[in-house]
C-alpha cells in the first residue's frame, strides 16, 4: 500500500459511512415497496378523514402545492408531499417515497385532530 492510499483509506471509509447514514449509499436500491404501499394507503385514509371535517392542510396532497421539490426526468418539479411520495415510488426509490407518504399521513392526522379541537370555535370576547 503506498502512502497516498494510506492517507485516503480512513477518509474513504468515513465518506462511505456518512453516505450510508445520509441514504446516498442506497441510491439505486429500491427500499421496501410493501412498506411504501402501506404508508401510502395510511396517508390517503388519514387525509380522507381530515377532508371530511374540512381540516386538510395545504401541502399534504393539494395538487397546486409547491412544498416539495422533486427531480423528475432531469426537471425540478414542485408538488405536495403525497405527490412527492408517488413520484419517488415511480422512480423506484421506495425509501424516499415512504418518507413523504409518512409526512402526508402525519398532516392528515394532525389536520383531523385540529378540526376536532376546533369543534366549538367561536368568538373569545
Amino acid at each position: 500500500m503506498n502512502r497516498l492510499m494510506k492517507r485516503l483509506t480512513p477518509g474513504i471509509a468515513l465518506v462511505l459511512l456518512i453516505g450510508n447514514l445520509a441514504g446516498i449509499g442506497t441510491a439505486g436500491a429500491s427500499g421496501d415497496e410493501a412498506a411504501y404501499k402501506m404508508a401510502h394507503a395510511d396517508a390517503v385514509a388519514a387525509l380522507d378523514m381530515a377532508k371530511k371535517v374540512g381540516g386538510e392542510w395545504r401541502d399534504a396532497r393539494w395538487k397546486k402545492s409547491k412544498a416539495v421539490k422533486v427531480e423528475v426526468e432531469g426537471k425540478t418539479k414542485k408538488m405536495s408531499n403525497l405527490a412527492a411520495a408517488e413520484a419517488y415510488a415511480k422512480m423506484g426509490d421506495y425509501e424516499k417515497a415512504t418518507q413523504y407518504a409518512d409526512i402526508a399521513k402525519f398532516q392528515g392526522v394532525a389536520g383531523y385532530q385540529q378540526a376536532m379541537d376546533q369543534k366549538n370555535a367561536g368568538p373569545q370576547f
Binding site: 474513504i12 468515513l14 465518506v15 456518512i18 402525519f106
Partner: protein
C-alpha cells in the same frame, strides 16, 4: 470535488466534532446560536420576524412581544423550548403556530432556535 478535498473535508468535520465534544459546550453553542438564527429568520421556517422584534432583524412585526432578555423570561431552557414547540398548550387562543407539534420545524431546528432565542 476531488477525493483529496473530500478527505480533508471529512477530516475537518471529524476534527470539529472532536473539538466540540472535548473542548466543551461553548464552541457547539456558538454554532447552534448562529444556525438557530438562520432558522429563526428564514421566512419558510421560523419566520419569527413576522411577529417579533429581534435585534439585527429588519421589518419586524409587533404581534408578539419583542424577543429581548430571554434568559430572564425563561430561566429554564425546557420551558422556552416547550413554548416554541406548542404555544397553544399554555394559551389555546394564541396566534403563534405550534412549530413542533405541527412539524413546521424539525426537532433539531427547534433545539437550534431555542439556543438562539435564549441568547437574545
Amino acid at each position: 470535488m476531488t477525493i483529496n478535498q473530500v478527505t480533508s473535508r471529512a477530516l475537518s468535520i471529524l476534527l470539529i466534532s472532536c473539538i466540540s465534544i472535548l473542548g466543551g459546550i461553548s464552541v457547539a453553542n456558538a454554532d447552534a446560536v448562529s444556525d438557530g438564527k438562520k432558522v429563526a429568520f428564514d421566512r419558510k421556517k421560523g419566520n419569527c420576524l413576522t411577529c417579533h422584534m429581534i435585534a439585527g432583524g429588519s421589518l419586524a412585526g409587533n404581534i408578539g412581544p419583542p424577543l429581548i432578555a430571554m434568559k430572564a423570561r425563561f430561566p429554564n431552557k425546557a420551558d422556552l423550548r416547550a413554548q416554541i414547540w406548542d404555544p397553544t398548550h399554555k394559551n389555546p387562543n394564541t396566534i403563534m403556530p405550534p412549530f413542533g407539534m405541527h412539524r413546521i420545524l424539525t426537532e433539531k431546528e427547534i433545539d437550534l432556535v431555542t439556543e438562539y432565542i435564549l441568547s437574545l
